[in-house]
């Protein structure tokens, strides 16, 4: 190596911070600020929240989008500028400027992100405290997740449903739990999500601000039917909500007294026990995909298992699903319907399915 110590280290030395570099730095800075403000204000990604908590989260999110856009532009801007400006000329075998550091610069880019981050944390904390704050007129709804359906219980009215109805503008306190594995209750349009866990009650506040029908989604992997564990939230004005409540209460009383319309009762049970989560059935408006579609089950049930009548087959399929596994399907149907259903409900459901010709 000693014979090579004499040659030069650099070809044409690259200027470290000339006027072009300065201009670029200023341009990148200005673009970053402008783009940050524009993106933060416009926020094309998340808008139109249907709850007051959601609106606050969206505002916070917009702030993050603005700051992230600015940082993004700064990094990509300097990267691109360097790529264009400092590309090596093909014949240039020299070295770049031997810069090893700059204390002021390094303090600067340690301190500024630190400040930004502290600001973001404080702002986030305030939003969090706000969306967690209970209002005195809260209405409590108990939510239970189970593989693979949601169940809602209104303690004020003693009614149980498979669909969530909430009055517009009134804060609702959801008390969420699970009957089996973990689930997560999520209404995307309201930006609210909370895990459902067995042996534990978690809570979330929702104040709906827009009437409408919004999907309820399970967001925690809970087994084969996780993707179809969905329901919906209906937001309606207080009077409409009260009418709905009365209808539910009435339906419940009628069902106890005498089953009025067996078909309607069947539909209700089908959705109440979460069959809809897994079995498509046009008559009940169900779209589940986990199990076989039950359209026409009444006509084919007699021919599935030799020696079993249609009624026996359907009843066994519900009470002891593993007795016969339909080809190409997984044995994931819950095995505890026998315990969970009253004899009357079971009979009504079997009759209802037998009608599906």
């Amino acid at each position: 190596m000693s014979d090579q110590t004499t040659h030069s280290m650099a070809g044409t030395q690259t200027p470290v911070f000339d006027s072009t570099g300065k201009l670029a730095a200023i341009l990148i800075g200005v673009t970053a600020v402008v783009a940050g403000v524009v993106m933060g204000t416009a926020n094309p990604f998340l808008r139109g929240a249907a709850s007051s908590q959601g609106s606050q989260i969206d505002t916070l999110f917009s702030l993050f989008v603005g700051i992230a856009t600015a940082i993004f532009i700064i990094v990509q801007g300097f990267l691109l500028f360097s790529i264009v400006r400092f590309a090596r000329a093909p014949e240039d075998e020299g070295e770049g400027a031997p810069l090893r550091g700059n204390t002021k610069l390094e303090i600067f880019w340690t301190a500024v992100p630190a400040l930004i981050v502290v600001f973001l944390a404080i702002y986030s904390y305030r939003v969090l405290a706000d969306i967690d704050r209970p209002r005195p007129d809260q209405m409590v709804i108990e939510v239970t997740g189970r593989q693979f359906a949601w169940e809602f219980y209104y303690p004020d009215y003693d009614i149980k449903t498979a669909e969530l109805h909430i009055p517009l503008g009134r804060q609702v306190l959801l008390k969420i739990t699970s009957a089996d594995v973990n689930h997560a209750f999520w209404i995307p349009q309201m930006r609210i999500k909370k895990d459902a866990m067995g042996g534990k009650i978690t809570t979330a506040n929702i104040t709906a601000t827009e009437p409408g029908v919004y999907p309820i989604v399970c967001a925690e992997l809970c087994g084969a039917g996780h993707a179809v564990m969905r329901s919906q939230a209906v937001v309606e004005a207080e009077p409409t909500f009260q009418t709905w409540v009365q209808a539910q209460v009435g339906a419940k009383q009628r069902a106890v007294a005498a089953p009025a319309d067996p078909k309607a009762l069947g539909r209700q049970l089908y959705n109440q026990y979460g069959c809809n989560a897994c079995h498509k059935l046009a008559d009940a408006g169900a779209i589940g995909l986990v199990g076989p579609a039950l359209d026409g089950i009444g006509s084919r049930a007699a021919n599935v298992v030799p020696g079993q009548s249609a009624e026996e087959y359907i009843r066994t399929s519900i009470v002891k699903p593993t007795a016969f596994i339909v080809p190409n399907y997984q044995p994931v149907m819950p095995g505890d319907y026998g315990q969970r259903m009253s004899e009357a409900d079971l009979n009504a459901l079997v009759q209802y399915l037998l009608e599906q010709k």
Partner: protein, 550 residues
């Protein structure tokens, strides 16, 4: 240089190595390094094919390609394989090969333990494949109980596989730490160490302190599954959150296990192709250690929507956001490193530059996630999937490729074809953004993760994503072809094809079996571009400019 390199037709012999040496228990760190890399890459392809299956199923709504439980199995194995059998072992393999060379050591501190670490990975990988074959590991790579105690027997094999992989990691980490501390060549002071060595120290510390906690959690999971102990199930009085705490106590630091070596590699690649010293050496080294320490104090940011005590969310939000500071220091130092350099856009450099660009997107979405109110909305959605691929693919995988293109000549004695390299790069880069950028939006608009089907409104975003995934798979082909073909017909590299500093480049390519016959002389850190001449290379004097020299 020593004439270990056998040049001629066919393969460049690896410093006197036979092909069969790579198939058996061998204690040479260079052999073990390549064993790791080949095994890991095999699993990358397996994990990648599983990903393609995921994207095929999700290309259209209501697709019937796989069932719900098959889908869960595929996504669990995809996540687990990519993390535990691709990224982690691939980095270990690369470091195994180059770090002892960079330090001027003749091998790792415990050569036999090193081989044991590798060979523990083999049963781990086989058990993982077995769990796929029998089915049942269907609860995601995070394996939350109670679901993970109700799933069929494959879940137990999955947990056992992770135990093996964990032991492999722990022994490897101890080995790296002792190697870096004790086997440095004379003159190689701590501040002359390559930054990759610093990164490996930080990584090994995390593995050492984190992985045992995962082992403990897995032990409990296995005992619950086999003995019916009720650790995690509320029915028996147990606590599902216990698993989440133990799992994330390991698995958040584990994401830094998967990125710190990448940071180290980038710090090696940029100076070589920018022809400049690394900017801010000490702060980069220090920030790796800071990330290692802080990384242990943020784990509950994965549990913001769980049943954890709500007041804990705030401290964990703050610590999570603080990680942006040391990470930002690295990003800005790298930008300063290429500033005023003489950039050569080799494939290695392209991947390194893309790393900076893509990792920042993933890091920024991480900051969104760290904010509790935002996370309440996006947790367990495709926004998280987008985040994790931007940091893991845009970060870790890009860094790995940058390193592979840099050191391939050292490992094999042959150059890779640069045209194919650029093809690989551009296909990957485009496919990657096409696949994962739309997922941010899908998540924000209401698409949860780990679903085998979705409402039709998300069709467009998912179709783009699936097309991108298809491009990414195609991108792997030129790389595979290039890597295999160049073994035989690539241009002979010579000891130092990139005119780089670093002790590894003072040896023949591939290096002799015993690395350094005489202890190397360490003149300074390996970033002296423009300050000292690169040993063993001839620099054409350029007219009219006074140079440094020694």
């Amino acid at each position: 240089m020593t004439a270990d390199t056998v040049v001629g037709t066919g393969l460049v012999r690896h410093g006197g190595r036979k092909f069969s040496d790579y198939l058996v228990f061998n204690t040479d760190h260079k052999v073990i390094g390549i064993q790791y890399l080949v095994l890991a890459f095999t699993f990358f392809i397996i994990g990648g094919l599983l990903a393609e299956l995921i994207r095929a199923q999700l290309a259209v709504p209501n697709n019937q390609l796989v069932t719900g439980s098959q889908y869960n199995l595929v996504l669990t194995l995809h996540g687990t394989i990519m993390i535990f059998l691709w990224i982690i072992p691939a980095f270990v393999g690369a470091a195994n090969y180059v770090v002892p060379l960079m330090l001027g050591a003749n091998d790792m501190a415990f050569p036999r333990l090193n081989a044991v670490s590798f060979w523990l990975l083999v049963p781990g990988g086989l058990l993982m494949l077995a769990s796929f074959a029998v089915g049942g590991a269907e609860s995601g790579w995070t394996a939350y109980p109670p679901l993970s105690v109700t799933t069929p027997v494959g879940q137990t094999l999955w947990a056992l596989a992770l135990q093996f992989i964990g032991f492999s990691s722990i022994f490897g980490a101890i080995n790296f730490l002792v190697t870096v501390f004790n086997l440095r060549a004379p003159g190689m002071s701590l501040t002359r160490m390559p930054l990759l060595a610093w990164a490996i120290v930080a990584t090994s510390l995390i593995i050492m302190l984190g992985t045992p906690v995962l082992s403990g959690a897995l032990l409990l999971l296995i005992l619950q599954r086999l003995l019916g102990a009720q650790f995690f199930t509320p029915g028996g009085g147990g606590n599902p959150l216990l698993w989440q705490n133990l799992f994330w106590f390991y698995s958040h630091p584990a994401v830094y296990i998967m990125i710190l070596p990448g940071f180290g590699i980038i710090s090696e690649v940029l100076p070589v192709f920018a022809r400049k010293p690394i900017f801010g050496y000490k702060l980069i080294a220090f920030s790796s250690m800071a990330i290692a320490v802080f990384g242990f104090l943020v784990w509950a940011h994965h549990m913001f929507t769980s049943g954890m005590d709500p007041f804990l969310r705030v401290p964990f939000m703050v610590t999570s956001m603080i990680i942006a500071v040391p990470t930002g220091v690295k990003i800005f130092s790298w930008l300063a490193t290429i500033w005023a350099g003489k950039l050569r856009f080799t494939t290695s450099m392209m991947f390194a530059l893309a790393f900076i660009s893509m990792f920042v997107i993933g890091g920024l979405s991480g900051i969104f996630l760290a904010s509790v109110p935002i996370d309440i909305h996006v947790q367990d959605t495709y926004f998280v999937v987008a985040h994790l691929h931007y940091v893991l693919f845009g970060g870790s995988v890009m860094a790995l490729f940058a390193g592979l293109y840099l050191w391939y000549p050292k490992l094999t004695g042959r150059m890779l074809d640069e045209r194919l390299g650029h093809l690989h790069f551009w296909l990957t880069f485009m496919g990657f953004n096409l696949t994962f950028f739309p997922q941010h939006i899908a998540g924000l608009q209401g698409m949860p993760r780990r679903v085998y089907t979705y409402p039709p409104e998300f069709w467009a975003l998912n179709l783009i994503s699936s097309i991108g995934a298809f491009l990414m798979a195609i991108a792997v082909l030129p790389f595979l072809y290039n890597a295999l073909r160049s073994l035989a017909v690539g241009k002979v590299a010579g000891p130092n094809p990139w005119r780089a500093f670093g002790l590894e480049w003072t040896l023949s390519s591939p290096p002799p079996v015993h690395n350094f016959p005489t202890p190397p002389v360490v003149e300074g850190d390996p970033y002296g571009y423009g300050e000292r001449p690169v040993p063993g290379t001839r620099v054409v004097p350029a007219p009219g400019v006074a140079g440094g020299g020694e």
